[in-house]
C-alpha cells in the first residue's frame, strides 16, 4: 500500500464518521456508557485492593525472646529469622521501646503502665514482616520452633479472618470487572455492527468496482478506533473529575485516616490509558467483525 493511500484511508475514516452522523453517535454513546461503568468499577476495585493491602501490611509477627537470652543469642536468632525465605524485614524491638509502644497505643489509659518503666515486665522482641502477608501464619509456626523464642504473636484467628475478607473483596471485584468488560464488548460491538450492516450496499459496490478487501477494511478500521477513542473521552473526564472530588472529601475527613484512597495521579493517567485502549480495541473488533460478513461478494 502506498503511503498516500494510508492517508486516504485515515481521511475516509474521519469523513465516514460524519457521513453516518446518527449511527456514529449511537456507537459512541454505547462506548461512553459502558466504559463509564467499567471505569467506575475499575476505580472501586483498585481502591479495594489498595485498602486491603494497607490493612494486610499492618500485620506483623511479634517474636518475644526468652528473658534469659543474651545479646549474642539475639543476633543468632535475628540471622535465622532473616534466613527464612518468606520474611521481608526483621526489626529488633528492645523492651523499653515495646513498653512505650504499648503506652502510646492505649492513650490515656496507658499512663497506668508508666510506673512500670523501672521494672519493665516485657521481654525484648523482634518485629517480623513477611513478603506476602498471607504467609504470616505459616512463618509464625516456623519461628515458634526456633531457639530462644518464648512466644510468637500475630493476632492468631483475627488475621486469618481478615485475609479471608480481603481475598473475597478482591475476587468479587475481579469477577464484576471481567463480566462487565464482556458485556461492554458485546454491547458495543453489536451497536457498531448494526451501523455497518446498514452500509452493506456500500461495501458491495466497493467490491464491484474492484476494491481489494484490505482497501475496504482500512477506513472501517480507522473508524472503529475513532468510535472507541471518542467514546472513552467522556467517561475519562467524568471519572477524573469525580474521583478528584471524592479523594479530596475523604482526605479532608480525619476520621477516615484508617485507610487511604489511591492518589489521584498516577491512577487517573493509568485509568485513562486503559479506557482509551479498551475503547479502541472494542471499536476495531466490532467494526472488523461486521465488515468481514460483507466482503464475500
Amino acid at each position: 500500500m502506498k503511503f498516500r493511500t494510508l492517508g486516504r484511508h485515515i481521511k475516509e475514516g474521519f469523513k465516514s464518521l460524519g457521513r453516518n452522523g446518527w449511527m456514529s453517535f449511537a456507537s459512541i454513546s454505547a462506548v461512553t456508557v459502558t466504559l463509564l461503568l467499567v471505569g467506575v468499577f475499575l476505580v472501586l476495585l483498585l481502591n479495594i485492593n489498595a485498602i486491603a493491602s494497607q490493612i494486610e501490611d499492618d500485620v506483623e509477627i511479634r517474636v518475644y525472646l526468652e528473658k534469659t537470652s543474651e545479646e549474642p543469642q539475639h543476633q543468632e536468632l535475628q540471622q535465622q529469622l532473616e534466613g527464612i525465605e518468606e520474611v521481608s524485614s526483621v526489626k529488633y524491638v528492645p523492651k523499653e521501646e515495646g513498653l512505650q509502644e504499648l503506652i502510646d497505643s492505649l492513650g490515656d489509659e496507658g499512663k497506668v503502665f508508666q510506673s512500670l518503666e523501672d521494672e519493665n515486665p516485657l521481654p525484648d522482641a523482634f518485629a517480623v514482616k513477611t513478603e506476602r502477608p498471607q504467609d504470616t501464619p505459616l512463618v509464625a509456626d516456623e519461628i515458634e520452633t526456633l531457639d530462644y523464642v518464648s512466644e510468637v504473636r500475630y493476632g492468631q484467628g483475627t488475621v486469618e479472618r481478615l485475609f479471608k475478607i480481603t481475598d473475597t473483596a478482591r475476587n468479587v471485584g475481579l469477577v464484576l470487572i471481567v463480566g462487565l468488560l464482556f458485556t461492554a464488548m458485546f454491547l458495543i460491538a453489536n451497536t457498531i455492527k448494526i451501523t455497518i450492516v446498514s452500509r452493506g450496499t456500500e461495501i458491495e459496490i466497493m467490491k464491484l468496482v474492484g476494491a481489494t478487501n484490505g482497501f475496504i477494511r482500512w477506513p472501517f478500521f480507522v473508524e472503529g478506533i475513532l468510535l472507541g477513542v471518542l467514546g472513552s473521552l467522556i467517561p475519562i473526564g467524568i471519572l477524573i473529575f469525580a474521583y478528584q472530588f471524592i479523594y479530596e472529601a475523604v482526605s479532608m475527613n480525619l476520621n477516615t485516616i484508617l485507610f487511604q484512597l489511591l492518589p489521584v495521579y498516577p491512577l487517573m493517567f493509568q485509568l485513562a490509558g486503559l479506557l482509551v485502549i479498551i475503547g479502541a480495541f472494542i471499536g476495531v473488533w466490532g467494526s472488523m467483525t461486521s465488515v468481514r460478513k460483507f466482503l464475500k461478494v
Binding site: T5, R8, M206, L208, V209, G210
Partner: protein
Amino acid sequence: MIEMHDVWKTYPNGVMALNGIDIHIEKGEFVYVVGPSGAGKSTFIKCMYRQEKPTKGNIIINGRSLIKVKERHIPFVRRQVGVVFQDFKLLPKLSVYENVAFALEVIEESPKVIRKRVMEVLDLVGLKNKARFLPDELSGGEQQRVSIARSIVNKPPVLIADEPTGNLDPETAWGIMDVFEEIGTRGTTIVMATHNKEIVNTVKKRVIAIDGGRISRDELRGNYGYEI
C-alpha cells in the same frame, strides 16, 4: 476480448441458469444481449465480472481467465471490466465527483490524475457542472450517467451494462444510448443486456439472444425479436 467456453451455471437451489454457453466477442464490438425474463441473461452478465462463478466452463476476458483466478486476485480482474447497473448502485452519501473518483482511488491513482480523469468523464457524460451534487439530487438519467462515468473512468477494455435503460423513460434512455455509442467509438468492447426493443431495432448491432440458458440466436446487425 471476451471468450466463454462451455459455461454452465446451476444455483445451489437447483435452478439451471446457463446450460453450455459458447461465445466469442471481438475487441471493440458492441453487443446486445436479449431474451425473456428468467432466460439467464443476468447470470450471463454477472459471470462476466465474476459476481457469479460458473459451475463449469471457462471465461477469458482480455487474456485473463475469470475462473482460474485466485480469490484475492478477483478485484484485479474486475478492474478490467466496467459495470453499469440497472439500479445505478451509487454511494448515496458521496457526491457525483466522489462516486466517480472512487474507482480510481481503488487502484491508487495519484490525486492529480484522479482530478483530471474524473472531470474528463463527467464532461463526456455531460455532468461536469453537477460534480458536487449528491446522487439523490439528480434525475434517474443523470444518476445512470454517473454510474457510466464511474465504470469507464479507469479505462477498462470491457464495459458491461445490465439493463442500463430499464428504469428510465424512453427519451432519457436514448440519451444514455448516445453515451454508450460514444464510448464504443473509443475502442471499448461493450456488452449490454436490454429489454429495450426500440433501441435494439434502431441502433443495429450484434444481438445475442439467450433462452433457457442457451444461446438461441447470434446475429450481426440483428433485431430484438421478442414481443414484450
